[in-house]
C-alpha cells in the first residue's frame, strides 16, 4: 500500500518534480562533491564518536539538495530547503572548537530566518498570481513561467524575500556572517561541502530561477543586485586580507566570490548571467579544493593559526600544488577556470548599460587583485616561508610525509578540473547549457582564445625558469636571521610568518574606522538584530517584575480598555 505510494511518487504523478538543464548540471556537480567529500571524510573524520550519524546527515543533505534542485513547485522546494538548514546545524555541531555551538546556532538562525522570509515570499507570490485558488493552488504552484512584473509593493517585497533566502544560503551580504564562522568552527569536509560548494549551488540556483523565471526584472532591481554583488566582492575580500586563521580567511573568500555570481546575474543580459552561473560551478570546484587542501594542511600542522604554520610545502607537496592551482583559479589568473567565468562577467557588466557600470567593473577587478594579494599572504604563511617550531618537528618526522589516498583523490580531481575547465572553457556551449534561463543568445564581445593563451603562458613560464637557471639568482645566500643577540618575545623563532602582510591597510584613514566597526561586528546583521531584539526584551522584562499588584493593574487596565473599545 504505502509501497505503491512511494512508487507513484517516484513516477511523479502529481508533477512534484521536474528538471531542466540547469538543475541537471547542478545535480551532477552536487553528486561529484558528495562523492569527493565522502572520500575525503574517510580519513578526516576517522575515529570520531558517532561518525555514522555524520554520514547519515551528509547523505540526507545530498538527497535534500537534489530535492531542492528538482522541485517542481514552491512548497516542495521550501520543505527541502528548510531541512537543509537543520542538517547544516547538525553537521556544524560535529566541530570540536570552542565556538562550534555558537556557530551552529548562528547558522541555523540566519538560514532559518530567511526560510521564513522565503515562506512569506511564496505566500505573497501565491496571493499575487492565484489568490483565489485556495490551499490547493499553493500546494501546486509551479516555479516556472510566472513572469510577475516587479511593479507593486507586494511583488517587490516578495522578490526581496526570495533574494534574501538565496543570499543567506549562498552567503552574500548582508546574510553572509555565518560563512566565516562556519569555516572556522565546523569540520573541514562540512565546510567544503556546504558553505563552499553545495550551498552556493543551491543559493545561486534559486536566485537564478527566481530572477529569470518567476519575476520580470526591472533596471532598478538589476542595479540593486549589482550593487549588492560589488559590495560583497570588495568588502569580504578586504576582511579576508586581515584574517589570521586559515579557514576563516578562506571563508571570507567564499563570501567574496558570491559577489561575482550576484553581479553576473544582476547584469540581466545573457552573457552576464551565463558568466554568473558558470562562476558558480567554478567557484564550488576551486573553493572546495581550497578548503579540503587547507584542512589537510591544518590537520598536518595541528593548528589553523597562520602565525604557527609555514614551510609545510616540504611535508605535503601534493597538497601545496593543488592549493596553488586552486588559489590561482580563485584569483582569476588565466588560464584557470576562475578567469574564464570572471571574463564573461566583466563583459556582462560592460554591456549591461547600467549607468554605474564602471563602478561595478572596478569593484570586480579590484576584488580579483585583492584576492590574489590575500592568497600570496596565505601561501607564504602556510606553505612557503620559514617553518615554525611546531612545523619543524613535523618535518623532522619522516613518517608523516605521505598524503593519505582518500585526501589526495579529491584534491587531484578538483585541481585537475580547475585547469581543465579553464583551458577548454571556450569550448563549452554556454548558450545551450543555460538556454532556458537566458532570454537571448550569448554573444561575447571580448576575444579570448584559451588554448593559444595557455601555450603562450606556458612558454613564458618556461623562458622565465630558464632565465632563473641561467642567471645569478641561484647564488642567493641563505643565513640565519641576526638581531644583535636580542631575544624577541613576540616572535621567538625569529621568522616572518606573513600574517601581518597587509596590516598597513588597517591603519589607512577611512579604512581604519571601517575595520574598527567591522571588528565590533557592527556590520553583522545577526549581531545587530540580536541587540535590537534584546533591547525590546529588556524593556518588556522590566515590566515583569513579579509584583502582584502591578500585574493586577495591567489586568484591570486591560479590562477597562477592552470595555471602552467595545462600547
Amino acid at each position: 500500500m504505502s509501497f505503491n505510494l512511494i512508487i507513484d511518487a517516484l513516477k511523479n504523478p502529481n508533477g512534484f518534480f521536474a528538471s531542466n538543464p540547469l538543475s541537471l548540471l547542478c545535480a551532477a556537480f552536487a553528486t561529484l562533491f558528495f562523492v569527493l567529500i565522502v572520500v575525503y571524510s574517510l580519513k578526516h573524520m576517522k575515529g570520531r564518536k558517532g561518525v555514522w550519524r555524520y554520514y547519515i546527515y551528509t547523505i540526507a543533505t545530498y538527497v535534500s539538495s537534489l530535492g531542492v534542485l528538482f522541485a517542481a513547485n514552491f512548497l516542495i522546494l521550501l520543505i527541502f530547503w528548510g531541512l537543509l538548514g537543520l542538517l547544516l546545524y547538525l553537521l556544524i555541531a560535529f566541530g570540536r572548537k570552542e565556538g562550534t555551538p555558537a556557530t551552529a546556532r548562528k547558522a541555523l538562525i540566519i538560514v532559518g530566518a530567511t526560510d521564513v522570509l522565503l515562506l512569506f515570499g511564496i505566500v505573497l507570490v501565491w496571493k499575487i498570481t492565484a489568490g483565489s485558488s485556495g490551499l490547493q493552488g499553493l500546494f501546486h504552484m509551479p516555479i516556472t513561467g510566472m513572469g510577475i512584473p516587479l511593479s507593486g509593493t507586494a511583488s517587490i517585497i516578495a522578490y526581496l524575500c526570495f533574494a534574501s533566502a538565496a543570499f543567506a544560503k549562498a552567503g552574500a551580504m548582508p546574510f553572509h556572517t555565518w560563512v566565516p564562522d562556519t569555516a572556522e568552527n565546523a569540520p573541514t569536509p562540512v565546510t567544503a561541502f556546504l558553505p563552499a560548494s553545495l550551498d552556493k549551488l543551491l543559493g545561486i540556483y534559486l536566485l537564478a530561477r527566481v530572477t529569470l523565471d518567476v519575476f520580470q526584472m526591472t533596471p532598478t532591481m538589476n542595479t540593486i543586485l549589482m550593487a549588492i554583488g560589488s559590495i560583497t566582492i570588495v568588502a569580504a575580500v578586504m576582511m579576508a586580507l586581515i584574517q589570521h586563521d586559515l579557514k576563516r580567511l578562506l571563508g571570507y573568500h567564499a563570501v567574496s566570490q558570491v559577489g561575482y555570481m550576484v553581479l553576473g546575474i544582476g547584469t540581466g543580459n545573457p552573457i552576464g548571467i551565463a558568466g554568473g552561473l558558470f562562476h558558480m560551478f567554478n567557484h564550488s570546484i576551486y573553493k572546495s579544493c581550497l578548503f579540503l587542501a587547507g584542512g589537510a594542511a591544518e590537520r598536518k600542522a595541528g593548528t589553523g593559526n597562520l602565525a604557527q604554520m609555514g614551510g609545510l610545502v616540504k611535508a605535503i607537496p601534493l597538497v601545496f600544488v593543488t592549493f596553488l592551482i586552486a588559489s590561482l583559479a580563485i584569483s582569476g589568473v588565466p588560464p584557470m577556470n576562475g578567469f574564464a567565468s570572471k571574463w564573461l562577467i566583466y563583459q556582462g557588466v560592460i554591456t549591461s548599460g547600467d549607468s554605474l557600470w564602471v563602478l561595478w567593473l572596478i569593484a570586480a577587478m579590484l576584488g580579483s587583485a585583492l584576492t590574489l594579494a590575500s592568497f600570496m599572504k596565505l601561501i607564504h604563511a602556510v606553505f612557503l616561508g620559514q617553518p615554525s617550531e611546531g612545523v619543524k618537528k613535523i618535518l623532522a618526522d619522516k613518517k608523516g610525509k605521505r598524503t593519505a589516498l582518500s585526501t589526495a583523490i579529491p584534491l587531484v580531481v578538483l585541481s585537475t578540473l580547475c585547469v581543465g575547465i579553464g583551458v577548454f572553457a571556450w569550448k563549452i556551449p554556454f548558450g545551450q547549457l543555460f538556454r532556458p534561463e537566458l532570454s537571448g543568445p550569448v554573444d561575447s564581445p571580448g576575444i579570448w582564445q584559451s588554448g593559444t593563451a595557455t601555450l603562450m603562458l606556458i612558454a613564458g613560464l618556461v623562458i622565465g625558469y630558464l632565465i632563473y637557471l641561467a642567471g645569478t639568482l641561484k647564488k642567493a645566500r641563505v643565513v640565519a636571521p641576526f638581531v644583535g643577540g636580542e631575544t624577541l618575545e613576540d616572535n621567538p623563532d625569529m621568522r616572518v610568518s606573513g600574517v601581518n602582510f597587509y596590516m598597513t591597510i588597517k591603519e589607512l584613514g577611512l579604512l581604519k574606522g571601517i575595520y574598527r566597526w567591522a571588528e565590533k561586528k557592527l556590520f553583522d546583521l545577526y549581531v545587530v538584530a540580536g541587540k535590537i531584539f534584546a533591547g525590546f526584551g529588556i524593556l518588556f522584562s522590566f515590566m515583569h517584575n513579579g509584583i502582584l499588584s502591578r500585574y493586577f493593574l495591567w489586568f484591570i487596565v486591560g479590562l477597562v480598555v477592552l470595555c471602552i473599545v467595545l462600547i
Binding site: 505566500v123 507586494a154 515583569h544 502582584l548 470595555c563
Partner: protein, 499 residues
C-alpha cells in the same frame, strides 16, 4: 451508532479515579496504575468517538433526564452534555497529552513525596478540563473551569518551596478574579436571555437587536477567559506558575490547560453563542499580535529553561488567537492545527526540561552543556520539539504557521502576516538557545556520570517527538477531513448570526 449514555464517563472516570486513589493511597503502585489507566481509557474513549461519529453529528445527553421539560416549558432547564466536532478534537488532544504525562510521571514523580496526591489532583484537573469541553451549559462550564483551576493552583504549589508557593498564590489570586469576571458575565447573560443553555442562548442572541449590556459581557468574558489563556496583558501569572509546577504538570498547564480553559472557552462562547461579531475579530487579532511579540521577545532573554518555555507559550497562544481572529475557514483551520501542534511540542519540551532536571539536576541553561552525549533520547526529542516550535519545514509546527500566515495574507492582513513572520524568526532564535546551550558543546565535568532517564519517560518523549516530526501528515485530505474539518465546521457554522 454511539450511545449518548457514555458521554458523562469523560467526567465520571477521572473523578472516580481521583476518589479511589485517595482511598487506596496506602497500597504501593495503585496511584500510578489508576492515574495511567484513567487517562488512558479517556484517550481510547475519545478515539472511539472520533471513529464512530458522523462529521456533522451532534450527540446530546441530558443529565438527570431533565430534557423532558423542553416540551413543557419550551426551553431547556437541565444541564446538557454536548459532543460535536470541536469537542472531540479537543478531547483527543487533552486526553492524549494527559495519558502521556501520566505515563511519564510514573518515573518522574519519584522525585517528590506523596505521589498519590499528585495523581489525585491530576485526575481532578483532567475531570475539570473534560467537563469544560463536553458541557453545553454556560454556568456548568464555569463550574468545571473552577474545578480545573483549583486543582491547578494546588499542583503549581506541589513542591511547597518558597517559589512554588509564591507563584501559586499569584496564580490563585489572578485566576480567582478572572473566575469572578466570568461568573459576572454568565450572570448578565442569564439575566438577559433567561437561559443557561448555550444553544438556546445562541438562538436568542441571533434574533433581536442587542443591548449595550452585551458589550460589557464581551469585555468580561474576554478578560476572564483571556487570563486563563494567558493573553497579553492578562498573562503575567503564567511565567511564574508554569515553571514552578513539576515538569509533567507544566506540560499539562502549557500544553492543554490554557487552551481548554482559555482558547476553547473563548472560541465556544464567541463563535457559538455570539456568532463572532466583527469587533471580537479585531480584538483577538490585536491581542494575538501583542502576545506573539511580548512572549517571544521576553523568552529571548530567559536562562531558566522552563521559564523560557513558559514565555514561549504566551507567544504561541498569540498565533492561535491570531488565526481565530482572522475568522476565515483557513484561519480557523490554522489556529486549531496550531493548537494541536502546540499542545504536542510544548508538552514535549516541558517533559524534556523535566528529563534534563531529572538527569542533570539543573534548569539553568548556563550551567548545562554537551548533554547530547549523555542524554541522546532527551536531546533528540528536544530537537524535534524545538524544530516544530521554530516552524522549520517539514516539522509539524511549520505547517500550522504556514496556514496562519497564508490565512492572514488571504484576508489582506499583510502587516499581521509580516509580524507573524518576524516573530517566527525570533522564535527560532530563542528556542535554539535551549538546544545550543543545553546539548551542544563540551560536556562539563560535573555531568560525566549522569545517565539517560528511565524507560517510561523515554517512551513518552519519543512518542511526542514522532508526532512533532510527522504531524504535518494530518493535512493530507483524508486525515484532515476526519480530524480537523469537523472542528472547523463547528466554529464556522457558529458564525454569521449574532451582534
Amino acid at each position: 451508532m454511539i450511545s449518548a449514555g457514555i458521554v458523562p464517563l469523560f467526567v465520571a472516570i477521572p473523578l472516580a479515579g481521583a476518589f479511589l486513589i485517595a482511598l487506596f493511597k496506602k497500597i504501593k503502585g495503585i496511584p500510578d496504575i489508576f492515574g495511567v489507566f484513567a487517562s488512558g481509557s479517556m484517550f481510547i474513549l475519545s478515539i472511539l468517538f472520533l471513529l464512530k461519529m458522523e462529521i456533522t453529528q451532534r450527540i446530546v445527553y441530558n443529565i438527570g433526564n431533565w430534557g423532558g421539560f423542553n416540551e413543557v416549558l419550551g426551553k431547556i432547564v437541565g444541564i446538557q452534555l454536548v459532543i460535536d466536532g470541536l469537542t472531540i478534537f479537543m478531547l483527543l488532544i487533552v486526553n492524549f497529552v494527559a495519558f502521556i504525562v501520566a505515563v511519564y510521571s510514573v518515573n518522574y514523580m519519584t522525585r517528590y513525596t506523596q505521589k498519590w496526591q499528585f495523581y489525585c489532583l491530576f485526575l481532578l484537573m483532567l475531570a475539570g478540563m473534560n467537563g469544560v469541553l463536553i458541557t453545553g451549559d454556560l454556568f456548568n462550564l464555569f463550574v468545571f473551569v473552577e474545578i480545573a483551576s483549583l486543582a491547578s493552583y494546588a499542583l503549581v504549589a506541589f513542591g511547597t518551596e518558597k517559589r512554588e508557593l509564591e507563584a501559586s498564590f499569584k496564580y490563585a489570586v489572578m485566576g480567582g478574579v478572572a473566575s469572578l469576571l466570568i461568573l459576572m458575565g454568565v450572570v448578565f447573560l442569564y439575566s438577559y436571555t433567561g437561559t443557561l443553555n448555550m444553544a438556546n442562548m445562541a438562538e436568542i442572541m441571533s434574533g433581536s437587536e442587542q443591548p449595550a449590556l452585551i458589550y460589557l459581557v464581551f469585555g468580561l468574558f474576554l478578560t476572564g477567559f483571556g487570563l486563563k489563556a494567558a493573553m497579553v496583558p492578562f498573562h503575567a501569572w503564567l511565567p511564574d506558575a508554569h515553571p514552578s509546577a513539576p515538569a509533567p504538570i507544566s506540560a499539562m498547564l502549557s500544553g492543554v490547560l490554557i487552551k481548554t480553559l482559555g482558547v476553547y472557552a473563548i472560541a465556544r462562547v464567541f463563535f457559538t453563542i455570539f456568532g463572532f461579531p466583527h469587533q471580537i475579530s479585531i480584538i483577538l487579532m490585536t491581542l494575538g499580535a501583542m502576545s506573539m511579540g511580548v512572549g517571544a521577545l521576553v523568552a529571548l532573554r530567559q536562562w531558566d529553561m522552563k521559564r523560557l518555555l513558559a514565555y514561549s507559550s504566551i507567544s504561541q497562544i498569540g498565533y492561535i488567537m491570531l488565526g481565530l481572529g482572522i475568522g476565515t475557514p483557513l484561519g480557523i483551520l490554522g489556529a486549531l492545527f496550531h493548537l494541536f501542534n502546540h499542545s504536542i511540542f510544548k508538552s514535549l519540551l516541558f517533559l524534556d526540561s523535566g528529563a534534563v532536571e531529572y538527569a542533570a539536576g539543573t534548569r539553568d541553561l548556563k550551567e548545562m552543556g554537551g548533554l547530547s552525549r549523555k542524554l541522546p533520547v532527551t536531546s533528540g526529542s528536544t530537537l524535534a520539539g524545538a524544530m516544530s516550535l521554530a516552524g522549520i519545514p517539514p516539522f509539524a509546527g511549520f505547517w500550522s504557521k504556514l496556514i496562519i500566515i497564508i490565512a492572514a495574507v488571504e484576508a489582506n492582513h499583510m502587516k499581521l502576516a509580516a509580524w507573524a513572520v518576524l516573530m517566527s524568526i525570533v522564535t527560532i532564535a530563542y528556542i535554539l538557545k535551549v538546544t545550543r546551550f543545553a546539548f551542544l558543546g563540551a560536556l562539563k565535568d560535573r555531568f560525566v556520570n549522569i545517565k539517560e532517564v528511565p524507560v517510561l519517560m523515554r517512551i513518552s518523549l519519543v512518542l511526542l517527538a514522532l508526532i512533532c516530526i510527522f504531524g504535518g501528515l494530518l493535512l493530507i485530505p483524508e486525515a484532515r477531513a476526519a480530524f480537523l474539518e469537523p472542528a472547523v465546521r463547528v466554529l464556522i457554522s457558529g458564525m454569521g448570526g449574532g451582534v
